[in-house]
Subunit: 339 residues, 2 copies
């Protein structure tokens, strides 16, 4: 093992879309864990749209990453050195945060993944995005059989799970995605009833109306922008808008106006935001529910794998453009033999 | 009893603010109740902002009043003739609808009011507006002690009850109203902690920030417009916006833009609309809870009484301008002796 730790740090705050200049590769001396801490070697790093918010010093639900500090991100790592009796070298864990080759964490924050499990799945379908879809659909969506559910970014890490949960609840599910391959996957593999390719249609409002002849009961919002504008007037009485993210607006330098809220009164809409980390029990509940579905193949997921920590900035920039297809993960290193 | 029934009918649909021309007084032959029906003589008529929606043929949660048909409105009436065995002449009931001197109703829709009760209160504090405040505060607001609650149209029929419920729940309550007399009443009689006179302040945003140094946890929305714009950025994490009405925009001929919804995600806001009539049990629950508070004087209410059915159009036009002070009711007729 090299005696250097590699980190991708935030070099400057982006104005609009991030560029490679906003990131830098840093090498530093390998840290040593203190009492109660664990040093992990990163195997997989998760890249997710919310990280755009951490690059900015605009108000957010979490403090921004400081200039010069490592970017934050969920990882799967292998324990190298442990000063927490619950972990021994070779254990594979999730819960360590950072775009880094090695991470020091409080042992309390780590969770062991069973040996041989699909490790990267713990960053996607069984990780934060899966738990996000689960929390939004169960706590806010509360889908009933026969309802129409629209899922934005439907081939993404959150959307793919959200839509499959809606199908399991008996809904008619319409996905929205950004290219024909994604739409094919959404319909053929994920089993959604319809998919709209928002880059291919001439008139998004009309396409959505056609796909939702009975209106929309539940909307899972990941993107905002034009799609939100098209969805809002089609919401049915007692409709729910699950406000998870608005990635299409994350690079905006000027705030767009939103929908007039009179429809919320007259249609009795519920528009509600949530952050999955607010309730850690959601992760436990979701893994207990979904791990068997992943094992038996009934819950589908797709990963977009990029090799090498040094490629994380470019991959992240592409993620915000929707160029990924499936959950974006960086393969930082291979597990050691036996892990 | 005269053999003519007087009705205020909708003569034409308003463009923007309603004017007297949009209404007409109609006289017609006194109707006779059919089997299961009851004829009432109206004592009190309730005028409420939602009726502006019924004058329009824009989409709403209820069908519009037809041109030439009587305007709709809750009343308290005295039974004149009954073909429902549950009612006898002289009974005082609520549940009949119409800007009319006499109304035919299905007996199933009527509820008897105890003799000697403050009849008009069954149109306000114990009626639809009171039940509206109760439903919004309990089902959506869920106020916790120490939270900051802002009430718009705070001296109005709904706002006055909503704010008093928030005080009972242990909140710090800030009212917003449109003149100094209303603000005095809101603080001195209703017991709110602060009141902003939105017509008197130079800078509504600053006034609201000053009145809410800890931000806003719950907003009871009756008005929309500039006040909504001022409230939205001050909402705290996990804040609730109880979307009851937006009277400041009812006369708009062009829809205003609303707030960008990214704050809903990052602050985990809940913005939810409701219509009290969707759940009739709310009326029963509220009357059971609040009738003792009205009887013991601990729940304050104020009525703005206008005499004469023929004055209802002008009073309604003034209501939309905020010229009423307290729950607006029309005294249509006196009860007969013994009722």
């Amino acid at each position: 093992m090299s005696n250097l730790r590699r980190s991708i740090i935030l070099a400057s705050r982006p104005k609009g879309a991030p560029s490679a200049d906003n990131f830098a590769l840093d090498e530093s001396v390998m840290p040593k864990p203190a009492e109660g801490e664990v040093l992990t070697r990163t195997l997989w790093l998760s890249l997710d749209p919310y990280m755009r918010g951490r690059m900015s010093d605009k108000p957010s639900y979490a403090p921004p990453v400081a200039i010069g500090a490592p970017m934050t991100g969920e990882t799967v790592g292998e324990v190298v050195e442990s000063r927490d009796p619950r972990f021994v070298p070779g254990d594979v864990v999730t819960g360590a945060f950072g775009w880094q080759s090695h991470i020091i964490s409080a042992g309390d924050r780590l969770t062991t993944i069973p040996k041989g499990a699909p490790y990267s799945a713990y960053l996607g379908v069984l990780g934060m995005p899966g738990a996000t879809a689960y929390a939004g659909m169960t706590e806010i969506g509360q889908v009933k059989p026969g309802e129409t559910v629209v899922i934005s970014a439907a081939s993404g890490a959150v959307g793919a799970v959200a839509g499959q949960l809606a199908k399991r609840a008996g809904a008619r599910v319409v996905g929205v995605a950004g290219n024909p391959d994604k739409c094919l996957y959404i319909q053929d593999t994920l089993g959604f009833d319809e998919c709209i390719d928002h880059r291919a249609v001439m008139d998004l409002d009309a396409a959505l109306r056609d796909a939702c002849p009975n209106g929309i009961d539940v909307y899972f919002e990941n993107v905002g922008g034009d799609l939100q504008d098209a969805v809002y007037p089609l919401m049915n009485n007692f409709g729910r808008m699950i406000m998870c993210g608005m990635v299409a607006e994350y690079n905006d330098t000027k705030t767009r106006p939103g929908p007039n809220l009179m429809d919320v009164v007259r249609k009795r809409l519920r528009i509600e935001g949530f952050i999955v980390m607010d309730k850690p029990e959601r992760f436990v509940d979701w893994r207990a529910l979904a791990a068997p579905w992943v094992a038996d193949g009934s819950l589908h997921f797709r990963e977009h794998v990029v090799d090498g920590l040094e490629n994380a900035p470019e991959a992240f920039i592409d993620l915000l453009r929707g160029h990924n297809f499936g959950k974006l993960v960086i393969r930082v290193a291979e597990p050691s033999k036996g892990a």
